[in-house]
């Protein structure tokens, strides 16, 4: 295929477990990640994100299809792909009886980095991820979020050409998440490429150049966060807390969602004035905001669920 950091064509995975029906976790995924990109995989629980990441990171055999890391076929030569990659596994934990500093340093050494490089990168990662205060405390004494930061710091410190991060910021506070974002942006400016999964859609939007939304093992849509938001038919959202009984009146402006007494309408900016006038005429209070990625996600995936 090519020397893109990652490319898959019609990748499929079916899990076979004795005594239960087979699970088709990936039903033909075609995607690519270009050099220096940060790409997010979004999808509901069980959509197949981890399965895709595991296959791409040489940890799971695909049932069929092609997948390549920097031009190396992951199915036939996983050992050739491995030197290029690093992984934050979903639900991974640092060793409890090491401190963050020991964890990061020994991990880099195990990957074959020199003492000096490992030392320098360890200190850099500790500082970057704000681990200084407890860098020498055993991980067993750290909080959940601090442990997760240690995991992410460990992997980020590798500066591997291609990083896979499966829900890297789970359990982190908003400050820590932003530190992760900044570190990941830094890495890509240095030439690394990143594929991550997340359930925080603000994170996906803030961090990634492109997104893939997967559902039941298929890519539903891909593109930038803006593409996705546009695809729901408007970039603004008007909320009328008491508007539900008059939903019909507003249907012509765009997609409407009734939630209890409230009504939400997705509109294009050019029709906003007209809509607000109508709301005013009906004595309805209204708030206007931008459509978020979360709303786009709910609609794209929701439509797909309805169709089945």
């Amino acid at each position: 295929m090519s020397d893109d950091p990652l490319r898959s064509v019609d990748l499929r995975k079916t899990y076979f477990t004795k005594g239960t029906p087979p699970v088709e976790a990936l039903a033909g995924v075609t995607m690519s990640v270009r050099s220096g990109e940060r790409v997010a995989l979004l999808g509901r629980n069980g959509a197949g994100k981890t399965t895709f990441l595991k296959i791409a990171s040489t940890l799971l055999r695909p049932t069929s299809g092609q997948i390549e890391v920097f031009g190396h076929d992951v199915s036939t030569h996983p050992d050739r792909a491995r030197p290029y990659i690093a992984v934050v596994p979903q639900e991974g934990k640092p060793f409890f009886h090491l401190g963050p500093r020991e964890m990061i340093y020994t991990y880099l050494r195990a990957r074959g980095l020199s003492r000096e490089t490992s030392k320098a990168r360890t200190e850099e990662a500790i500082e970057r991820m704000n681990l200084t205060e407890f860098a020498d405390r055993l991980c067993i004494t750290l909080s959940g979020g601090q442990r997760q930061r240690t995991m992410v710091a460990t992997v980020i410190a590798t500066q591997a050409p291609l990083l896979f991060l499966d829900e890297p910021t789970i359990g982190m506070d908003p400050f820590a998440r932003r530190e992760v974002w900044a570190s990941l942006r830094d890495l890509t400016t240095k030439g690394s490429t990143i594929l991550l999964t997340t359930h925080y859609l603000d994170e996906a939007e803030a961090l990634s150049h492109r997104l893939y939304i997967v559902e039941r093992g298929r890519v539903l849509v891909s593109g930038t966060a803006d593409d996705l938001k546009r695809s729901v038919g408007g970039t603004l959202k008007v909320s009328l807390p008491e508007g539900a009984p008059q939903a019909e009146t507003f249907r012509s402006f765009g997609e409407t969602v009734v939630d209890g007494p409230s009504l939400t309408i997705i509109v294009h900016p050019e029709r906003l004035g007209e809509l607000m006038e109508l709301a005013l005429a009906r004595s309805l209070t209204a708030t206007v905001g931008p459509v978020t990625l979360e709303e786009a996600f709910l609609r794209v995936v929701g439509r797909n669920i309805d169709e089945d």
Partner: protein, 257 residues
């Protein structure tokens, strides 16, 4: 200034890359478990006391057996550790989806555990040498055989660890395997006490094969040349085969089915 992209600097993984680093990791991790180090010696001590009460004259044999058994029992630690860090910490995913070699991971873990537990084993070995008045050659033989038994057990332990999906199942099976094969056959007691019909089997099991060879050297057990050859060749061949298998298996099981 133009810098090379990170992928331009990637070098292929070398066999056994990361062994020393993971050994050190494992030492740091295990060194915190001082209680585990003490409990590691319980079975041996209990058996030594039994033998001493029943027949103090056999304590030299039992000390040799305790040294070999301790080396063998490290396989159980490898099994537990490998399964635990794979299942609970996702260490396989973290370490092996990268340039570290899978065999370095296995061997580093096994040797790390050996380093941490070597002190009590060395103490038992020293006691065996002193109490049994072992000469230099026999003492070196004890060290060499204990080393083979360790490598065999560590390799088996690692291979077995890959079959578990749940830590709870392990506690039961691991101790079963290592206690049955380390305690039942003539490791702590003279080879001649073992039912003659089963003696060839004992000669093919690494802990009892090593014990029989040492017992024959110190004159406690009379082995025919054929039996010595069976025990010695069997031990070396089995250890090598199982070690090579463990290296192969470590590489193969990085990737799930």
């Amino acid at each position: 200034m133009r810098t090379d992209p990170p992928q331009a600097l990637v070098r292929p993984t070398r066999p056994f890359r990361g062994t020393a680093a993971f050994l050190w990791t494992e030492v740091l991790v295990q060194a915190h478990e001082s209680l585990a180090m003490a409990t590691a010696m319980v079975t041996q001590t209990v058996l030594l006391v039994f033998v001493y009460i029943l027949n103090p004259g056999l304590i030299g044999v039992a000390l040799i057996g305790a040294t070999l058994f301790s080396s063998f029992a490290l396989g159980q630690r490898v099994l537990n550790e490998a399964a635990y860090i794979r299942i609970d910490h996702k260490a396989n995913d973290l370490y092996l989806a990268g340039p570290m070699s899978p065999e370095g991971y296995f061997l580093g873990m096994a040797t790390g555990i050996l380093v941490v537990y070597i002190a009590p084993i060395a103490l038992l070995g020293t006691l065996a040498v002193v109490v049994g008045h072992l000469n230099v050659v026999t003492s070196l033989l004890l060290v060499g055989l204990a080393g083979l038994v360790w490598l065999f057990a560590a390799s088996i332990g690692y291979i077995f660890s890959t079959f578990f999906r749940d830590n709870r199942a392990i506690w039961a099976y691991a101790s079963l395997f290592f206690n049955v094969f380390g305690v039942l056959p003539p490791v702590f007691y003279p080879f001649g006490y073992f039912p003659p019909a089963l003696q060839p089997v004992a000669l093919l099991m690494p802990p009892s094969a090593a014990a029989a060879l040492l017992q024959s050297r110190i004159g406690v057990t009379a082995l025919s040349t054929g039996q010595v050859e069976l025990a010695a060749v069997g031990l070396v061949v089995e250890t090598l085969v199982v070690f090579v298998l463990a290296v192969f298996w470590a590489r193969r099981t990085v990737r799930g089915p």
